[in-house]
Subunit: 129 residues, 2 copies
């Protein structure tokens, strides 16, 4: 899986890294149990700081997307992805809400917002093909 | 319009303030040209720092949601809301994308994500009624 970082972006590198790994899993490029590069190797390959990779991995681990073993290294959670529970639904609602409010504010209809969301879903899913 | 801040939230107060004013406009509680409290008054009413209100107003002004006049004070942009241009569409796509990727990763279907988005849209719109 190819990771592309935008060093000019306002989005922190560790967030970009986290997001791309999640997209990779979502798209199926990364399968449950797949090995990810060590912190050291990934930092070296991407030419970024160890702490940046470490921060991305820590977030992914906290959310249950990956496991970090001292011996086996870093792997996509072999037990599968974390569930769609109430905590997760509340979290995504909190995240979606201000974006949707801006759309509403500028006069976008519910259907228009929903269409954009569906397009993004498809784009993430098919990007790898 | 009633502003409710969650001081325990991880979301910065200025972001909460900004988001709620945008929701107020989106819902129609705040109309184009409506006066908003001065920085000083709002900070005093909410018991928060002047700089926090100032930061929220600065963001809203930058995005074209409000105007800040030395004499007329703070008003919802009387010329209407900023347009749904390519910049805005790119911005919301960038914001939507990581949330949708997480949904995909956890196995939510396109329809399920779209339904949640529609529910939030309706909730924002009808909250004031």
């Amino acid at each position: 899986m190819l990771l592309k970082l935008d060093l000019q972006s306002e989005i922190p590198i560790y967030t970009q890294l986290r997001n791309q790994i999640i997209e990779g899993i979502g798209r199926g490029d990364l399968k449950y149990g797949d090995a990810l590069p060590s912190v050291r190797n990934l930092a070296s390959d991407l030419g970024i700081n160890l702490h940046t990779v470490n921060k991305a991995y820590t977030l992914l681990k906290q959310d249950g997307y990956i496991q970090v073993h001292r011996q086996k290294g870093v792997v996509v959670n072999p037990e599968g992805m974390p569930p769609i529970d109430e905590d997760f639904l509340n979290k995504i609602k909190d995240e979606f809400r201000p974006i949707i409010a801006e759309c509403l504010c500028r006069g976008m209809s519910k259907e228009e917002v929903s269409l954009i969301v569906k397009q993004i879903y498809t784009m993430i899913k098919e990007k790898g093909r």
